[in-house]
C-alpha cells in the first residue's frame, strides 16, 4: 500500500472572480520529493497556502497519516511539522542567523533566552546536512543562497517532517542549485517528505520522484518522473507544445548604438571598484549578452549605465552622444530603455494601478498630460492598448492594483512598457527570472523582436540556457572585468562555465567581433 503522509482531497478555493483551486487532489508519500508544476497563476501557491494554513478552502479535506486535520493557521501547520520556505524569504534582516532560526521557537529559562543550546543544535544540523552558515552573521550581510540555507535550517530546527519549497531555485546560481538538489535528496533519504513548487522542468527531471501538474486551478494529473519527458510535462502545464529553442534569423549587425569605454564603477561593499575598465559596443540588430555569476559587477554596471549610480571613470556614448553624466531621464529620452533586475524595487510601483505603471516612463510626455494635468482618458486608452497587445493578464484591466498581479504578468507589464518606448537600446537585466516557461518563451520572443526591428539589445543574464539561446554575442564578466567574448556557436556551456567561474580568461583581440 502507498504510505501517504499528506492527502489533500478535492480542494476548492475561491477568490473574488477566480477559482484558484478547483477540486484539486494531491497525495504526498513519505520520503518522496513531489514536484508541483504549473504556470504562474495556476494555483500552486494557493494550494500550498491552504496546506500551510494561510487560506481556508471552500471545499475539500486534508488528511495526515490517514486522519483528517484542520489547519487554520501557520501555527497549526507547525504543530503538524509542516514547514515552508517561501519564495520571498521571511527573515529579519537586522537579526543574526541564529536569532532568525530560533525566532518563534526560542528555548527559554525563566524568561531568559537559552541561546547556547540553540547554537549547538543549529551547528549540529548545519554540519550533518552540509548547510554552511555563520550563526553570528547578520542576515542583511549574507548572500541570497545563504539566506535560503537559513530558511531551511529554520524548518529543520523545528523538526519539520513535511518541507514545502516555494520556487527555491529562482534566486540561486547554478552551483547553489546543485547543492540544494543534493540537500533535498538527503532529506528524502531520511524519510522527510518534500513538496517542491517550480516551473523549471529540468529541475523536476533531476530531483523529483513524482510530479503533480496544475493548469488554471485544475488538476492535470500526477505522473511518475521515470515515465515522463520534459515535453510531456510542459504540454500538461501549458496545454500546447513549447519550443525550447529561440527562433532567430541570421542578421548582420548595423551601426554602433551603445559604446562603453573603460567604465569603472565604485562598489558599495568595499573600497575597490566593482566594475573595472569595461569596454564594449552594442550594434543595431544584435543581442549582446553579459553573462556571469551573480555578484560579479553586473548589477553595478547596469546601474551606472542607466544613470542610477555614479561611475568612477570611463565614458558612455549612445548614438554618438556622450551620456556619461546624463540623468536617468536624459538617457531615456536619448534612446535607452531598461527592464530592471528587481521588478518590485525598481520596475514597478506596486501600490499604483497597472495603468499608472504603464506610463511610468512617459507620463510627462505631451499627449499624456497637458499643462501638468494628466489626461486620464489617454493614459487609460494607452494602457488598454498595451494590455491587449502584450497580453498582460490583469483582473480589473487598467485599474488593477499592480501588487495583486502575478509575477509573470508584472514582468510582462514592464516589458510592454519598455518595448513600446521604441528606444534604440534595450537593456534587459535577468528579464525571465522566476518566470514559467510560457512567459520565458514570450519574453525571449520580444527580445528577438526588438533585435529584428533593428534595435540594439543588451541582455544581462545568469541563466546559461538563456545566454546560449538568445544572444548573438556573449561577453563574460568576472570580478568586474570582461574576461571573454564569444559567439554562441563557438563555445560550449561547460567552457562558458569555466570563464564565468574565473578559471580561464582570454584576450578579446583574438575573437574580433
Amino acid at each position: 500500500m502507498d504510505d501517504y503522509v499528506i492527502e489533500m482531497l478535492g480542494i476548492t478555493k475561491d477568490f473574488p472572480g477566480v477559482r484558484a483551486n478547483d477540486d484539486v487532489t494531491l497525495r504526498l508519500r513519505r520520503g518522496e520529493i513531489h514536484a508541483l508544476l504549473g504556470e504562474n497563476g495556476a494555483g500552486k501557491s494557493t494550494l500550498m497556502s491552504v496546506l500551510f494554513g494561510l487560506y481556508q478552502p471552500e471545499k475539500g479535506q486534508i488528511l495526515m497519516n490517514g486522519k483528517e486535520v484542520k489547519i487554520n493557521s501557520p501555527n497549526d501547520a507547525n504543530a503538524l511539522k509542516i514547514g515552508m520556505v517561501h519564495q520571498h524569504f521571511k527573515l529579519v534582516e537586522v537579526f543574526s542567523v541564529l536569532d532568525n532560526i530560533i525566532l518563534g521557537a526560542e528555548t527559554t529559562k525563566m524568561g531568559l533566552l537559552q541561546k547556547d543550546e540553540a547554537r549547538r543544535k543549529v551547528l549540529a544540523l548545519s554540519e550533518s546536512y552540509g548547510l554552511k552558515v555563520n550563526p553570528d552573521a547578520l542576515v542583511e550581510d549574507i548572500s541570497v543562497g545563504m539566506q535560503q540555507r537559513v530558511e531551511i535550517l529554520k524548518m529543520l530546527y523545528r523538526d519539520n517532517e513535511i518541507l514545502i519549497f516555494d520556487e527555491p531555485t529562482a534566486v540561486l546560481t547554478p552551483q547553489e542549485i546543485d547543492e540544494l538538489m543534493d540537500i533535498m535528496r538527503s532529506f528524502a533519504r531520511e524519510g522527510k517528505s518534500i513538496l517542491f513548487i517550480t516551473h523549471k522542468l529540468n529541475e523536476i527531471m533531476a530531483v523529483a520522484d513524482r510530479c503533480t501538474v496544475l493548469r488554471k486551478g485544475k488538476l492535470m494529473g500526477t505522473v511518475d518522473i521515470r515515465d515522463t519527458t520534459p515535453q510531456e510535462l510542459s504540454r500538461m502545464m501549458v496545454g500546447r507544445d513549447i519550443s525550447f529553442t529561440v527562433e532567430k534569423k541570421e542578421q548582420e549587425p548595423g551601426e554602433v548604438v551603445l559604446q562603453v569605454e573603460n567604465l569603472s564603477v565604485p562598489s558599495r561593499l568595499h573600497k575597490k571598484d566593482a566594475v573595472r575598465g569595461v569596454s564594449f559596443e552594442v550594434r543595431r540588430g544584435e543581442i549582446v549578452c553579459l553573462a556571469g555569476i551573480e555578484g560579479n559587477g553586473q548589477t553595478e554596471f547596469v546601474s551606472a549605465l542607466t544613470g542610477l549610480e555614479k561611475l568612477s571613470g570611463g565614458r558612455i556614448t549612445l548614438l554618438g552622444r556622450d551620456l556619461t553624466r546624463a540623468t536617468v531621464r536624459q538617457r531615456s529620452v536619448a534612446g535607452m530603455s531598461h527592464i530592471p533586475e528587481d521588478r518590485h524595487k525598481h520596475g514597478l510601483i506596486l501600490d499604483f494601478s497597472l495603468m499608472d505603471n504603464l506610463v511610468l516612463q512617459r507620463y510627462w510626455e505631451e499627449g499624456f498630460q497637458r499643462h501638468g494635468v494628466i489626461r486620464e482618458g489617454e493614459v487609460r486608452g494607452y494602457a488598454e492598448k498595451l494590455i491587449a497587445q502584450y497580453d498582460v493578464r490583469a483582473g480589473e484591466g487598467p485599474d488593477t492594483l499592480t501588487r495583486s498581479m502575478s509575477g509573470g504578468n508584472q514582468q510582462k507589464a514592464i516589458v510592454a512598457r519598455e518595448m513600446d518606448l521604441k528606444r534604440d537600446l534595450l537593456v534587459a537585466v535577468q528579464p525571465t527570472r522566476g518566470l514559467d516557461v510560457g512567459a520565458i518563451e514570450y519574453i525571449h520572443a520580444q527580445l528577438v523582436r526588438a533585435r529584428d526591428e533593428n534595435r540594439a539589445v543588451l541582455l544581462v543574464s545568469l541563466e546559461l540556457d538563456e545566454v546560449m539561446n538568445v544572444s548573438d554575442r556573449i561577453l563574460v564578466m568576472y570580478e568586474g572585468e570582461i574576461v571573454g567574448e564569444f559567439k554562441p556557436r563557438e563555445v560550449s556551456v561547460q567552457e562558458l562555465g569555466l570563464y564565468m567561474a574565473g578559471a580561464r580568461r582570454r584576450d578579446r583581440q583574438e575573437v574580433g567581433a
Binding site: 536617468v328 525598481h346 510601483i349 501600490d351 499608472d356 511610468l360 507620463y363 494628466i374 480589473e396
Partner: protein
Amino acid sequence: MKKPRRLFKGTESLLASLASILAGLLFGFVLLLIFNPAKAGDGFLNILLTGVRSTARLGKVFYTAAPLVMTGLAVGFAFKTGLFNIGATGQFTVGGTLALFGAIAWQLPWYLCLLLAILGGAVWGSIPGLCKALFNVNEVITSIMFNWIALFTVNLAINNTTVMLASSWGDVSRERTASLAKANLDAILPKLGLDKLMRYNGMNIAIFIAVLVALVMWFVLQRTTFGYELKAVGANRHASRYAGISDGRSIIQSMIIAGALAGLGGGLYYLSGTVQFTLGKELVAMGFNGIPVALLGASHPIGIIFSALFISYIQVGGDAMQPEFAREMIDIIIASIIYLSAFSLLMRELIRRAKLKRGMAQEEATVKGADGAGEGGATA
C-alpha cells in the same frame, strides 16, 4: 470595471472611520460614567448634540475646523509622499505669527497677511525637507526640533517688537499680541455677514478657504503629473529614481507644500480676530491635532475635511459640558475619543481580516503585509 472597485475601496475606509468613531464615543461614555455617573447622560448628549443645538455653536464648529483642515492636510499631504510631518505645529506657529506681524506691525490687509502665513509655513517646512533630501536626516527628528525652535523664535520676536503687544494698543497684557479689532480691522478675515447670520462672532470665510484648498490638494494629488511624481516617490523611491523622477526634489517640494498648508492654517486661525497669540512655553495643540485629523481622514483631502469637522464638533460639544465636568476631565474624554477614532487604520485592518476569513479578497493577502507595516510605522 473601474467604478465598483473605487467605490468598494472607499466604503472600506469610510466603514473603518465610522467604526472607530463609534468605538471612541463609547469609550468616552464609559469615562463619563466613571467620572460622574449622575451627569454622564447629560454630558454625553452635550458632546453629541451641542454642535447642532444652535447656529452659533455650529459656527464655532466651522471656526475651529478651518485651521484643523489645514494642519490635517499638512500631515496628510506629506504622508502621501512618504514623509511624516510632525512639524505642523511649528509651521502653523510661524505662519500664524508672520500673519500677525503683517497685520499689526506692518498694517497689511488680510489677504497679504495670509500670503505671509503661507510663506512662513513653507520656509519652516522646507528645512526638514532639505535636510532629508540632501543629508538623509530623518524628517521626524528635524521637524520636532523645529517645532521648538519656532516656538521660542516667535516668542523672542514678538517680545522684542513692542508694537505687537496688546499693551501698545490700550490693553494691559504684555503676554499676548494685540487684538486685531483694535490694531487693524482690515486684517480680520471677511465675515460676509455670516457672523450675523449664524450669530457667532468667529464665523468667517476661513472654512471656505480651507475646503477650497483641500479640493485643490485633491486635484493636485489625483490629476497632475506633479502629484503623480510625489505619490510615486512616496510609494517607491527606487522605482521613482528608475523612472527619472528626482526623489530629493519631490521630498523638498512636498515638505514646502505641507509647511505652506500648516502656515495658512495659522493665518486663518489668528486672523479670525477672536484669538490673540499668547506667549508661552507650550507648543500649539492645533498642529498636533492635524495628525489624528489626517489619520482619521486616511490622508485623503476630502476625508480630512470631514474628520476635521468631526474633531472640531466633539471639542465644541466638550466645552458645553462645563461646569458639571472639570475642564481637565473634558480634555481627557475628548482626547480619548480622538485617540480611539484615529484607530481607523486598525479598524480597516480588522475589516480586511474579517473579509480574508471569509476568503473574499485574494489581493488583500499580499497587500496586507507591506501595507500594514508601512502605515504602522508611520503611526508609531
